[in-house]
């Protein structure tokens, strides 16, 4: 039969790559039928929750459970003593350190878990917690990492030998009891040589403050030990369910095939839900001990005060250039505050993550980075909050240093960037600190961005505003924030990226059903990124079945192939690649089946959208649907029945999305209030799978950037008390505080990725924070500001204005 439908219509029907396919997830979420951890109810389910330390540093002298055990409904109160015989009172962290599950002799941060109360319901658990009597002996508190490196106060007594010597840590020698590691990248001597002899050199210290991913759903789990069959099922807010299964197996002694980890719907992750928390371990133990399911879901205060924070990097940058503005060297020194335990979620060889991307988008011939990790009396961590490992810190550093250098050179900061961008023909580009950037065309993107916002017009307007301000006609300054970032995502090549020894590949397993629909399972897990929608689009284009006929499943370790999970941007580069590769295996077998059905040689057919056609005779074809049935129906010599494939993808490199952002901001110098007048974001994420979803990711990432830059912090006082532990003080913007964003794009495919895609979820956050910050800094530049630390909340902006004499 001749086909009535055009090729274009056939492509459209697939809803494959490049179309703004509406999300399949939305049906359940808009009808209140999502399935999140706290929705899970099992027969006989118990509740567990923690007694937490009010002190940041104290000895735990005694824990009296007796009154708590009298509370009706309370079944058990677990302490470190109860977990010790199982070897579970401590657990390994993802950074090669170990962390107390329950306080073992002392506590190291406010809110640290001291005891786990298990009860029949939430009410009894809450009452039980109040009834546990803990006697503490307060110890001196260290909240400043610089102080900690000099202090006689030892935080980690477990890491000091009996004779007082300091054994090596997981990353090498340690120079002080409160020191964790020193990590270096690049060449110290040549870099310092250039810096010392440069025509122009500037140094600036900057603090990237401690903040927190704060997803709307807090962390939690339900642990259910089936004693009859010896199987443990663990539902939880896990961004990396397979890794959790392996870790739980290693620490509990239960073999992996007897552990099933399920990540159901997750209400946002942003890095907060990557690591293992005491609540997971205690729930598992409690379930094993009681033989009943145990649920633990933390409160928001628990989440903010004790789960993995982000950032807390004290950075000093030193940059040199010729008088014409060509950068010649960069040095960066960092003191990294990890809190009481190094629970950073980094690949094992990178204790400071990918901080060594700090040469940014610029062609810098020589560079050196040194990072010292330090223990303090704060919550352990840190994680990468909507960024690749430590990349927000790296990009902030370089995007600030370029502004500071522009001030020193008395140059326009946009022009200074342009002079120093890596050129298109230099890709793949070997950066001075080790990474090979895959592709980029920075100049095109920058020109497009600056034109779109009429950059020259903005500068002219700003100049007028400065005059008006000095003449007393206005009290509002205008800032133009610039940011050109290069992200490094898609961790990562197994040869240098592993977490706890697990290589950072990812996977996809596809099975085609006889009647032409399919199911694909991946080692990643969406927390809102829309994988069920977008990965079906990748497959639709690869295998020619409609996306609407493809179910995407993630998160159940019994069925999903092994993967390292989803943080913020690695899924498309790694699992997306695995999906494409598995799709190509399907297509390769489909080709053979088609050739058999059409009675021609394998090489005489070619793939066309949704079918295989005979070359030169397109009226002879077999659709993928027909081929699917044939796979189950025909006995084809040399070909097994069925149609399925699996791919484990070890990426040859990271991918390098980039972007150009411009922010126009007006600042009231008397009140410190900022208004974002305009925000333009151009993102290049390579091949674009679903433009609607990309735009949503950009909106979301920019809003989290706005929050971090303009006020969102985890602040401590001198006693280690958390000052911003509730949503009253931890700044989450409402719809009122957030502007409309203008989004734009260029497309520079990744040459090594099967579909050329780079990932986009993290980019707006990575590039957004320096953009908002630079807008503030830029507003005050005409009055002498070089750098002022974030967050730029009202009082700090006011203070900057005050120090510059703008209130006189």
């Amino acid at each position: 039969m001749k086909d009535e439908i055009t090729r274009e219509e056939r492509v459209g029907n697939l809803k494959g790559m490049g179309c703004s396919r509406k999300r399949v997830e939305d049906a359940r979420f808009t009808q209140g039928k999502g399935n999140y951890v706290d929705d899970i109810k099992l027969d006989g389910m118990l509740f567990g929750d923690f007694v937490r330390s009010p002190y940041a540093h104290a000895r735990v002298v005694s824990v009296d459970k007796s009154a708590a055990l009298e509370v009706p409904g309370v079944l058990a109160v677990l302490t470190a003593e109860d977990l010790a015989p199982l070897g579970l009172h401590w657990m390994p962290t993802l950074a090669g350190d170990k962390q107390m599950v329950l306080a073992d002799g002392k506590v190291l941060f406010q809110g640290q878990e001291v005891a786990f109360v298990v009860a029949e319901d939430r009410y009894a658990a809450a009452d039980g917690i109040e009834a546990v009597l803990v006697e503490y002996e307060e110890l001196a508190v260290l909240v400043d990492p610089h102080e900690a490196l000099k202090s006689d106060v030892v935080l980690r007594e477990d890491l000091v030998a009996a004779d007082g010597s300091i054994p090596d840590g997981a990353h090498g020698p340690r120079k002080h009891p409160n020191h964790i590691f020193t990590w270096e990248a690049g060449d110290r001597e040549p870099t310092e040589e250039v810096l010392d002899n440069a025509d122009v050199v500037v140094e600036e210290s900057m603090y990237y403050h401690r903040t927190h991913p704060c997803p709307l759903e807090t962390c939690g789990c339900v642990a259910s030990m089936d004693k009859v069959n010896g199987k443990l099922t663990l539902w939880g807010t896990f961004q990396a369910p397979h890794a959790i299964r392996t870790v739980v197996s290693l620490i509990s002694g239960i073999e992996e095939h007897n552990i099933r980890v399920i990540s159901p719907d997750i209400g946002g992750g942003f890095g907060n839900k990557v690591g293992a928390y005491a609540g997971y371990v205690c729930s598992v133990v409690a379930s094993i001990v009681t033989g009943k399911p145990v649920k633990w879901v933390e409160d928001r205060m628990d989440n903010l005060m004790t789960t993995a924070f982000a950032r807390d990097y004290h950075m000093t940058g030193k940059i040199s250039a010729t008088k014409e503005g060509k950068i010649t060297a960069l040095k960066c020194s960092v003191i990294a505050d990890h809190g009481g335990f190094d629970a950073c979620a980094d690949p094992t060889k990178f204790p400071a993550g990918f901080m060594n991307i700090c040469t940014g988008s610029y062609d810098i011939p020589t560079a050196f980075l040194e990072v010292d990790g330090v223990y303090t009396n704060k919550a352990p961590g840190g994680v990468s909050y909507r960024c690749s490992f430590r990349v927000t810190e790296a990009v902030y550093l370089i995007e600030r240093m370029i502004e500071v250098l522009a001030i020193e050179l008395n140059m326009d900061a946009a022009e200074l960037r342009r002079i120093n961008f890596i050129k298109k023909e230099q890709f793949p580009y070997q950066a001075a600190l080790g990474w090979e950037y895959d592709s980029g065309d920075y100049h095109t993107a920058w020109d497009k961005a600056l034109k779109a916002v009429d950059y020259d017009g903005l500068r002219a307007e700003q100049t007028q505003r400065v005059e008006d301000f000095k003449a007393g006609k206005t009290r509002k300054l205008m800032g133009i924030g610039l940011s050109f970032f290069t992200e490094i995502v898609g961790a990562g090549p197994v040869k240098n990226c592993d977490i706890l020894g697990l290589g950072m590949f990812d996977s996809c397993e596809i099975r085609i059903h006889p009647t032409g629909s399919a199911i694909a399972r991946l080692g990643t897990i969406s927390q809102g990124q829309g994988h069920a929608t977008t990965f079906a689009q990748i497959l639709a284009s690869e295998i020619g079945l409609p996306a609407d006929s493809i179910t995407i499943e993630e998160g159940d370790t019994d069925t999903a192939p092994y993967g390292l999970g989803t943080y913020g941007s690695r899924s498309t580069p790694v699992a997306g690649a695995a999906t494409a590769m598995a799709g190509r295996k399907i297509r390769a077998k489909a080709q053979m089946i088609a050739a058999y059905l059409l009675e021609v040689h394998d090489n005489d057919v070619e793939f066309d959208v949704d079918r295989f056609v005979v070359k030169g005779a397109p009226e002879q074809f077999k659709t993928m649907k027909e081929i699917a049935f044939a796979a189950y129906n025909q006995a084809i010599p040399g070909i097994e029945p069925g149609l399925e494939a699996v791919s484990y993808y070890d990426p040859p490199n990271m991918t390098y999305p980039f972007g150009a952002y411009v922010c126009v901001m007006d600042i009231d110098v008397d009140t410190g209030v900022t208004e974002i007048r305009r925000f333009y974001a151009l993102d290049d994420c390579g091949t674009r799978i679903n433009p609607m979803i990309i735009e949503g990711q950009v909106h979301g990432g920019l809003t989290e950037a706005l929050a971090v830059a303009l006020g969102q912090e985890i602040a401590y006082d001198d006693m280690g008390n958390v000052k911003t532990g509730t949503l009253m003080d931890f700044f989450l913007p409402t719809a009122w505080e957030v502007p409309n964003y203008e989004t734009d794009f260029t497309v520079t495919p990744s040459p090594h990725h099967p579909i050329g895609a780079k990932g986009v979820g993290e980019s707006p956050h990575v590039g957004g924070v320096p953009c908002f910050s630079n807008a503030v800094q830029d507003a005050f530049r005409p009055f002498g500001n070089r750098h002022t630390n974030m967050p730029h909340d009202h009082w700090r902006i006011w203070q900057t204005a005050n120090k510059l004499g703008l209130h006189d």
């Binding site: 009140t671 700044f731 409402t734 009082w795 006011w798 203070q799 005050n802």
Partner: protein
């Protein structure tokens, strides 16, 4: 998140309320909208063994606009304030302030009485009521007492209301002239970094009366007689504004917190007051 256990009462009249208060003393508290008390109970920062829900006690949900005064029942919500056209015509500052309290959901439940009686220095109604020279009526075993808003607040969470008295309504002398409620906050829904309530009258280009009250700049609202006084008789020019700000600064006593240091708060208080006066004056 889970409060301690408590006994719950829902009396039908004030006599019922009072008898529970009398029986349980300190251990009993009344609740209106619950949006100040319940969050404190959930954090176990407020211990209320006996909770008396006022929602079935009648006679406290009306807004009555007379010739010379306005009466607002304690159970009237912020949402009711915002939606009452007659009230807005008579005392527009109330709506302007109510719109700046918290968020839509909280405004549906939060009551005028709760906001006034709580004694939290961050609440907006106390300062506003002082600006308006309102009188609070509290009902106890000995009947009704009327207490001037300007005399009501003693310290944070400490007011002139006795534990066994219930705030039943607020009486506001009919305001006139220009009005403004100006509030700086870290984000919508937050308590004030600094807020100013101003009522001001003008005759022949000169200020004939001015009432100024400041919020969240001390452990109680601050009615600044001096600031209001410094505007009277002037044309509310730059000098007068500066004088009003200086006078006000002498009356407030802000403390440092997450919103910022003292110097910042003092400065912002001055800016906010200045803007409030200017806006009120333009409407006078």
């Amino acid at each position: 998140m889970i409060p301690a256990a408590f006994e719950y009462y829902r009396p039908k009249d004030m006599a019922g309320v009072l008898s529970i208060l009398e029986e349980h003393g300190d251990d009993a508290r009344v609740m209106a909208g619950g949006h100040s008390l319940i969050p404190m109970m959930k954090l176990r920062m407020a211990n209320v063994p006996h909770l008396i829900d006022l929602q079935d006690v009648g006679g406290m949900s009306d807004i009555t606009i007379g010739a010379e005064r306005i009466e607002i029942g304690a159970m009237v919500t912020q949402h009711d304030i915002i939606g009452n056209a007659a009230l807005t015509a008579a005392a527009p500052i109330l709506r302007e302030a109510a719109l700046q309290i918290s968020d839509p959901q909280v405004r549906y439940m939060g009551t005028v009485g709760g906001n006034i009686a709580n004694g939290d220095p961050g609440n907006d109604m106390p300062g506003l009521m002082q600006c308006l020279d309102a009188t609070f009526s509290v009902f106890g075993a000995d009947g009704t007492r009327n207490i001037a808003a300007r005399d009501f607040y003693e310290a944070a969470y400490v007011t002139a209301r006795e534990d066994d008295e219930v705030l039943t309504h607020v009486t506001i002398p009919m305001p006139n002239g220009g009005f403004a409620y100006e509030k700086q906050k870290r984000k919508i829904g937050d308590y004030a970094t600094a807020a100013a309530a101003v009522q001001i009258t003008k005759e022949g280009g000169r200020c004939t009366s001015a009432s100024v009250a400041m919020t969240n700049l001390s452990d109680t609202p601050v009615f600044s007689t001096a600031a209001g006084g410094s505007l009277v008789g002037t044309m509310v020019d730059d000098a007068a504004l500066k004088a009003a700000v200086a006078a006000m600064l002498g009356d407030i006593d802000p403390t440092e917190d997450n919103r910022g240091p003292v110097a910042f708060k003092n400065h912002v208080a001055g800016i906010i007051l200045r803007r409030a006066i200017e806006r009120a004056w333009s409407r006078a």
